[in-house]
Symmetry: C2
Subunit: 428 residues, 2 copies
């Protein structure tokens, strides 16, 4: 039996705004950052759990402070007690009777829970000597159901529904796991699409994306309609007709504006329109989805929790569900999100990029394929070629495909040197 002895935090910031990497219609100058947490125990194995909230700069210190507010739950607790029942521990964190007021279940405090929960999963996977996706996919269906808090979901998804989904997928697990290890999971790339790039760079990056084996790219849109048409013309010309092109408005539009704007982009055979409007606006997305058919609506990177995702599905307001590894309250809530998507028959194509989001979210998609949806159909994981070099086990994306990670853990551990170099205050 061992005990958690420390919850350490680091305010890590990369000065990405200098190069306009990551610029879009709503986020012109992000400094990709992480409110980072490391859980230490007194066990002889020396293993640690690492997790983070991704932010884009200012306010990362607020996010760090929120993570620190959870230390009393962790420090001094028995490691095995916590790790053996992460469903129960999740409920204790999320439903803390006083902290809950600060959301509830949204924003800074909810993301802080996510960082701690993900760090616990990282530790659990390291202790098991397995990558997180394999650990999750090895759990009994009932154990997976126990990870989920069904509060506020029961009108759409009950524990019995979840169990049925998981049991149906069980017979094919071994075969799909082997398939993943052999062939990986398809990715798509957003690297060419940032608004800050000039035409030559756009063209070059589009060409390189196809040469690298990606079957889908994504372009940022929404700042200027004529510019979008122009950039889509270039992109479609360069990638040809066989490569899918998704577009992403980063919440820029009103409902009517989204519909009109997408009429202008319709000739380019757009795979999906992402974040057309406020991520809180379920009914707005539903109206947009009805009016831009057959173009699919995608959203999720800013969807605060499973209750909002539930409504997006109930209202047919999204046709592509984009879970994020660090927006909701960690692995447990994303298991709920995957089960909701499976119940409604909607594909999950995670948001990634930022700092370490690719590293973490690949585990959720691979778990989904092995043990939940059982399908790769219409499913791709976002890939952005940023900042992977700072991670202990960076993603391995080759020929447009995420290779299944085999190292123990959740992928969330940054290099000690990177943490030190980019710790707030240490860089210029």
């Amino acid at each position: 039996m061992s005990t958690f002895v420390a919850l350490d935090t680091v305010d890590v910031r990369f000065p990405t705004s200098r190069t306009l990497d990551g610029s879009d219609a709503m986020n012109p100058d992000p400094d990709y950052s992480a409110a980072y947490v490391r859980l230490r125990t007194d066990a002889a194995d020396g293993l640690e759990g690492h997790g983070f909230v991704f932010t884009i700069g200012r306010g990362n210190d607020v996010q760090v402070k929120a993570i620190e507010a959870l230390a009393p739950y962790v420090v001094g607790a028995g490691v095995e007690d916590v790790l053996d029942d992460l469903g129960e521990f999740w409920r204790r964190l999320v439903h803390d009777s006083q902290l809950r007021w600060l959301g509830p279940e949204k924003g800074v405090m909810h993301m802080a829970v996510g960082a701690v929960v993900n760090a616990l999963w990282d530790l659990r996977a390291k202790r098991a000597g397995r990558p997180l996706w394999q650990l999750l996919a090895s759990l009994e269906p009932r154990a997976i159901v126990d990870l989920v808090d069904f509060r506020y979901l029961s009108d759409a998804l009950t524990p019995a529904d979840a169990l049925e989904i998981l049991e149906k997928a069980e017979p094919g697990r071994a075969q799909r796991e082997a398939e993943l290890l052999r062939s990986g999971y398809p990715g798509y790339t957003t690297t060419p699409g940032w608004l800050g790039y000039d035409d030559a760079k756009l063209e070059r990056l589009c060409r390189e994306a196809v040469e690298a084996g990606f079957r889908q790219i994504k372009l940022k849109v929404g700042a200027d309609r004529d510019e979008d048409v122009r950039r889509l013309t270039i992109a479609r010309r360069v990638v040809g007709d066989d490569i899918a092109i998704a577009v992403d408005a980063n919440q820029r539009w009103e409902v009517d504006e989204a519909v009109t704007w997408m009429e202008a982009l319709r000739p380019f055979d757009v795979a999906w329109i992402e974040e057309p409007t406020s991520p809180d606006d379920v009914l707005g997305h539903a109206a947009i989805a009805r009016r831009v058919k057959p173009i699919r609506v995608a959203t999720g990177e800013h969807v605060a929790n499973r209750v909002v995702f539930k409504q997006f599905l109930q209202a047919d307001a999204l046709q592509v569900m984009q879970i994020d590894a660090a927006r909701v309250a960690g692995v447990n809530e994303n298991v709920a999100n995957l089960l909701l998507a499976a119940k409604f028959g909607v594909p999950v194509c995670p948001h990634a990029g930022g700092v370490g989001l690719c590293e973490v979210v690949q585990h959720l998609s691979m778990f989904d394929f092995v043990a939940v949806s059982g399908s790769l159909d219409s499913r791709v994981i976002e890939y952005v070629d940023h900042l992977h070099e700072h991670f202990v086990t960076p993603v391995d994306v080759r020929d447009g495909v995420y290779r299944a990670p085999t190292a123990p853990g959740a992928g969330s551990e940054m290099l000690a040197e990177s943490l030190e170099t980019y710790r707030q205050g240490r860089h210029g």
Copy 2:
């Protein structure tokens, strides 16, 4: 011309959990707290702007930190520049391209904006020598429209709609202002209804509420159905048939559970059911509202922003809209909320209680009556007899009625002595 020279914060906590004041089905042991902000200028008048976020204890330090993250926007800025265009300043705070990621527009960061914005309004009202409600109600309709950010609202409320509502109310302003000064605004009391009280105390407080002139009381429900029936039986017996009784489940239920539970409470002629389920669940509330008719559904104290309120109204998911002074991004967003309610013809009955919420929110209801809805019909402001003694201008509630405040400011200033006594770390 003067300049903001400081943004000071205080972490204020009252140890209310010791007496079970404020206990309900979801919040068993709140320590009513305020993440408090004070804005100082170099003007000779010595006036300050005070504002706060209400929390219930743990995490108040996180909320304080979030307020401090906004200091760069305020300190060094020209006071007149900021106060003369609070619509523009609101947009700058809310849409900060990096801080926005921490919500967007929800939770800790959004409430921090609310505290700062409310402090600015407090200062503006003090400078004008008027209570906030009168200051707001003296603005030209176009100036009120300029306070509102219509982003994500235009499918339900346009600037033209807002102007029409405000212009329609303009001719009656003087008469309604006089009526308020003469007769006040009706309140209702939640003082009897907390779950922690025994029967004798419940009975005594119900009797005292009627004797004090209140025409409505509210009881907390949702922890135990038989207990709720028993307590409602006592309450109805004591207050008689002419006093309205609302009930409040504080988000305790699933959708079906809410409907079944309310069937059991239907015989008590319930005025409204408040927060039956997750405050994020627009579609869930809509389903509940359809099924418990003619009982009205009320919610709002945890509704994160105007975009969510918009959907509640579009879906007929609430019939009573409960704005909160410290949940959304301050006065400006609540002006948007009042305009949305007026557009949909739904009465606004603010959430209050906590620390200082009564003091602040009365200004919004009175502004609504004078300049927006023009109506007192079905409208009441919540009143709880807690902690008013800590404010410089405490509410004056007599004969069940909020007397219109006449002191300059927004009501949000706490006594220096209280700030010092209950500053975190100073009490036992």
